[in-house]
Amino acid sequence: MNDVRLRPPRNRVERRAVAWWTTQSSIFALPLPIVFAVLYLFIPPARTWFGWCLVATLVPGLAYMLVMPAWRYRVHRWETTNEAVYASSGWLWQRWRVVPLSRIQTVDTLRGPIQQMFRLSGITVTTASASGAVKIKGLDHRVAADVVDHLTRYTQATPGDAT
């Protein structure tokens, strides 16, 4: 019997997204080790204790900062055709989403402050289903604008209320 597989979507997200994700994760991963480092420096009697705390928080934090962005860059992929939007994501729980253009209700772009620093954009494509949204994050903002343009043009061309 012939085997069928999902092929990965054609496009990767922007290379700069790795830098974005690293910055973003550092906001979560670094404050605690920094606090422990300061305590370690200024309270000599409790050094052993704070030293261990520093190691225990810094090592997983750094590991997350190093591994997550690279891995995410590997698995986040997207593609639009004249019929559908197709995106994949997930590390341990892989996820693929397909939405036909005829069923799209809204196309939103979102640019957070850190994303703006790296000139990146995220796109959210929603349908009438509450669990049917497709999110593509970490696109170059010009690419994102083109994608939105492409999607809205096809969405407008389809009659009906897309349910």
């Binding site: 069928v4 597989r5 996820r95 989403r97 069923r103 289903s129 669990s131 349910t163």
Partner: protein, 521 residues
Amino acid sequence: MTSGAAVRHRTDAATPEWERLNGRLILVHASLLAAPLASWAATLVATGGKLNLQALITLGSLLITFLVVTSIGLMRYFTTRYRITDDRIELRSGLLFRSQRAIRLDRIRSVDLTANPVHRVFGLTSLRIGTGEQTYSAGRKLTLDGVSKAQAAELRQRLLSRRDAVLGQAAVEDDGLIADLDWSWIRYAPLTIWGVGGVLAAVGTVYRTLHEMKVDPLQLGFVKAIENHYGSVPLWFGILVTLLIVVVLGAIFSTATFTEGWYGYRLEREDAGTFRVLRGLFVTRSVTIEERRLRGVELGETMFLRWAGGARLNAVASGLGDRDENRKRRMLTPPVPRAEALRVAADVLSEDESPTSLTDLRHHPRIALRRRINRGLTVTALIVIPLAGLGLWLSTTLLYAAGVTALILVPVSVALAYDAYRTLGHGMRGRYLVTRSGTFAHRTVALQREGIIGWNISRSFFQRRAGLLTLGATTAAGEHCYKVRDVTVTDGLSFAEEAVPHLLTPFLERGTSHRRDRRRR
């Protein structure tokens, strides 16, 4: 769409008059004051006419609260006006914050009538107009809270027929009764699990209330008497009796719930393609579902109900509101015999045979069974291991308890896993995609294939190792995503392609599989 937008005032001669809510609403709001007045009276009687400062403050603030609530209600009554023009219904209300809302008649998806007990005493009912927007704010709903029953029925008829006139649909006169209450169904009522849960909740509430009032229930006279009387019986007997009492109370409670919820139940097809579910003793509910919004049905069989050959039928429809509202409003039948549920399903979907009765559902691979057994054993281990650990640490009694628990739970969880595996199935029946799954409650969903508006395909780490995936069909109706769990990659994707042709095709590749997949096959 802009149903919530403000509307221009039109001063055509043809514009109908603004109408107000029923005057009896004043009585409804005034009757609310009975609660604080009664508590005043009760306190006066209880204390023999002497009130201390604390009681005065409590009662006073209670009275003020109710006065405020009543006056808000009264203000709403005096300021609310509505009218139905040729193409829209308009509602304006508010004194300080005036709001004007209008809904285009052709956007109306449902007109529901509900009456709470106070409303019913005064012969009133509330009329709610649903537009089926995917919004989660209560402000988007248009509710006429307090019109007389006759007026509500007339309004409902007028709204639906105007809507059909606007939409250009022909109104067909047809008394389309699909199902009505058969009191023999009450035998299924005690089998719903709500009873036991309800009893536990009630006990908890009573205990908490007493606790708040600084009364320790265990120190009450009659509890003491029971304790003295039966304090010497063995523990297992005590547990057995308690369990029996809870089960019996639970059965009574769920029978009462059934009666309240399903008294006067009727499911009928109305003119111009709508279904209407009417039910309820103290609170009468009327839910209207448009036929074209109906995307399928869901057959639910909870464990005990299934053993007794019963099932309940829910609609999979869009425009029934958010998740919670959908849960409350989707019910098409109470717990009924399985055959009856299937008959109603077939009737509602206008099919010869219900798609959920499909007997030749495709089976899922054997490895799905192993996943379920593993899951059951993991849960068992999570219960037994801490118990055994405590036993090693504290006393051997707990160790024995752990042993007994394991002896009971291992076969039970394996049996449940087998049952869950046998339940798994998917298939295609004409216009419908059918999927079935569930451990304690089996759910069989038939979803119209045109209603599928995308695919969510997911694979956990363990599923990837086993060469499986979970296929989720997203839809605007019901729970928004219906899943076919644990199918092989090839079967799942081919099934998706078959259900909605062409959508997935450009993203698939064919050929020999990965080395790992082949090894597992």
